[in-house]
């Protein structure tokens, strides 16, 4: 993958406009669905920083998402709204801190080991919330009242308000996207791209590769924590399921489906995944069978992910396309 260059993405403002105007026309069901997609997009973007831009295939990303979501519930008062100033940074920090500790262990390994070890550590964290009194067992815990942002007596933002919630999520998606864009073209971003391309040479050029990878891991954990915070606020409860390896698998799926290594791809992947999930589960209770079939098909015939589809189609239509290429 070449270094990130500034390409004109002229359809991005359009997407933003559609997202901004959507609630004006959409029903509450669709608003909620789009909010969910945007939360998942933040989650997928955070993982793409690892998988697509640092070359770290993590199969345990749900741990940071889930730990942050739990922190929201644990830090909010039982019957009063939590303070957004406190709860949000705490959730992001929780994601980052858990990633820091896990990173110290897992980043000592490479390749296939890394995949297995991240999965195992995520499972460990799953058990922490599942088995100990901390997390309320397999039933999870409720966030009775969602956090709000107030200055003095005045409530500026109230996450219990679906409309406000929608726009907060949108704002955070934009923030996360821009943050990653900026990060990727910074010296750090270029170093991560170098690590992805040739870690060995990076080290012999004098880069402390471990620290760079840890920085990437912690950043990704913090962003996943942001997504976890929003998710906890959307549903008003948390269960160990959000820490499960299914969740890790799904977000990895979004990143790969969309074509990893491009921020837009991760967002597209999140969109595609949630929509497929929605459509399939409306069709049958055994929707995972269809999802599995889609995954297997994509791997076998579309190695570059969904975002490679337009190019492939173009190749086919123009006729010069080499289908195996």
């Amino acid at each position: 993958m070449p270094l990130p260059r500034n390409k004109t993405r002229n359809y991005l403002p359009l997407v933003l406009l559609v997202l901004a105007l959507f609630p004006v026309f959409g029903s509450s069901y669709y608003n909620e669905l789009i909010a969910k997609i945007m939360i998942m997009a933040i989650f997928a973007l955070s993982l793409d920083l690892l998988v697509g831009f640092t070359g770290l295939v993590s199969f345990g990303h749900a741990a940071f998402f889930g730990a942050a979501a739990y922190s929201v519930v644990l830090l909010s008062p039982k019957y009063d709204p939590g303070n957004l100033w406190l709860v949000l940074p705490a959730a992001v920090l929780t994601g980052a801190a858990v990633a820091f500790v896990v990173g110290l262990f897992v980043l000592r390994t490479k390749g296939i080991y890394f995949i297995m070890v991240t999965l195992a550590f995520a499972q460990m964290i799953y058990f922490v919330f599942h088995d100990t009194p901390l997390g309320g067992g397999s039933d999870g815990a409720f966030l009775n009242v969602k956090p709000e942002l107030r200055i003095g007596e005045k409530v500026l933002l109230d996450l219990n308000e679906p409309m406000q919630f929608y726009y907060i999520v949108l704002a955070f998606l934009v923030v996360a996207y821009v943050f990653l864009r900026v990060l990727l073209r910074s010296p750090l971003g270029h170093a991560l791209a170098g690590i992805r391309s040739n870690e060995h040479r990076m080290q012999s050029l004098g880069f402390p590769v471990f620290l760079y990878k840890l920085a990437s891991f912690v950043t990704a954990g913090g962003l996943a924590g942001l997504a976890g915070f929003l998710s906890a606020c959307q549903y008003g409860f948390v269960t160990p399921e959000i820490l499960s390896w299914h969740q890790s698998g799904n977000v990895l799926l979004m990143v790969i489906l969309g074509g990893m290594g491009t921020l837009n791809g991760a967002a597209i992947g999140a969109f595609a995944f949630v929509v497929l999930q929605e459509v399939f589960s409306a069709l049958t209770k055994h929707w995972q069978l269809l999802m599995g079939a889609v995954i297997v098909t994509v791997v076998m015939v579309l190695p570059g992910g969904l975002s490679s589809l337009p190019q492939r189609l173009k190749g086919l239509l123009i006729g010069g396309g080499n289908r195996n290429g």
Binding site: S186, H190, A191, G194, S197, N198, R201, L205, G206, L211
Partner: protein
């Protein structure tokens, strides 16, 4: 006497039962080019790997400006000023020549925390990169993606990347292998130009080049130092002729 920069003391490295380096001692001085000769499998690359930290030694010491650095990681050694090139081209294939070198230069100036500025916006890094590219003779290919370079040009890039890190020690593993005669010549000229300010270790099979640039030559056979001394001494050495030169021209890869 020239300043002693890097030295190995009784350094050994085993792979299972095989000694790739056995009790190797050698000194590198600033302003001197130290060439290492030896047949294939003599342990020359292993020597460089040990000095650069790519491999930990099984025994012995490595001293850099008087300090024992045997336990240092490769990146720490690189930051301290020990740069190396690889026998097998080891670059970032998807980046352009300039990006390869800019990234190399970036390693000198940790700006990891400046995440809100553009990597390409630092003029000092761009200058360092462009200077290295110029020195290695790749100026015309500056914006070409490395993977599409010819083999010889990739070898040049390999050198440009080390130079971009502004090292005081250069460990070069067969830099001329794969280069055409013209590039070889300009590389030899470059080595001569670099020698006064650097301590250089040159592993090379090209005899003419070695005898043209070397101040000291060490001949290795089966992991051990056979003889070490000025070029004339090596040329006249009976032991070297028997063990190595006598076999006829060593084959280039």
């Amino acid at each position: 006497m020239a300043e002693l920069v890097l030295s190995a003391r009784g350094m050994s490295r085993r792979f299972g039962g095989l000694y790739a380096n056995r009790d190797v001692s050698l000194d590198m001085h600033k302003g001197m080019l130290h060439a290492v000769l030896g047949p294939n499998g003599a342990g020359k690359s292993t020597l460089i790997n040990l000095l650069s930290g790519d491999l930990p030694p099984s025994a012995g010491q490595i001293l850099y400006r008087g300090e024992d650095i045997s336990g240092w990681s490769p990146d720490k050694r690189s930051r301290a000023g020990i740069g190396r090139s690889y026998q097998r081209t080891n670059i970032f294939p998807a980046f352009t020549v300039f990006e390869n070198c800019r990234l190399a230069a970036q390693s000198r100036t940790p700006r990891a925390l400046r995440i809100f500025s553009k990597a390409v916006a630092f003029p000092d890094l761009r200058d360092a990169a462009d200077r290295a590219i110029e020195q290695a003779g790749l100026a015309e290919r500056r914006d070409v993606v490395a993977a599409t370079l010819s083999h010889g040009e990739q070898r040049q890039l390999e050198i440009a990347m080390v130079l971009a890190t502004a090292p005081s020690v250069l460990l070069l593993d067969e830099p001329l292998a794969g280069m055409g005669p013209e590039e070889s010549q300009s590389m030899v000229a470059l080595l001569k130009k670099l020698t006064p300010d650097h301590a250089i270790l040159l592993v090379e099979h090209d005899m003419d080049a070695v005898f043209a640039v070397a101040d000291v030559i060490t001949v290795m056979v089966t992991g051990q130092v056979l003889e070490s001394g000025p070029p004339d001494q090596i040329r006249d050495s009976v032991a070297v002729q028997e063990a190595y030169l006598g076999e006829g021209e060593p084959d280039d890869e």
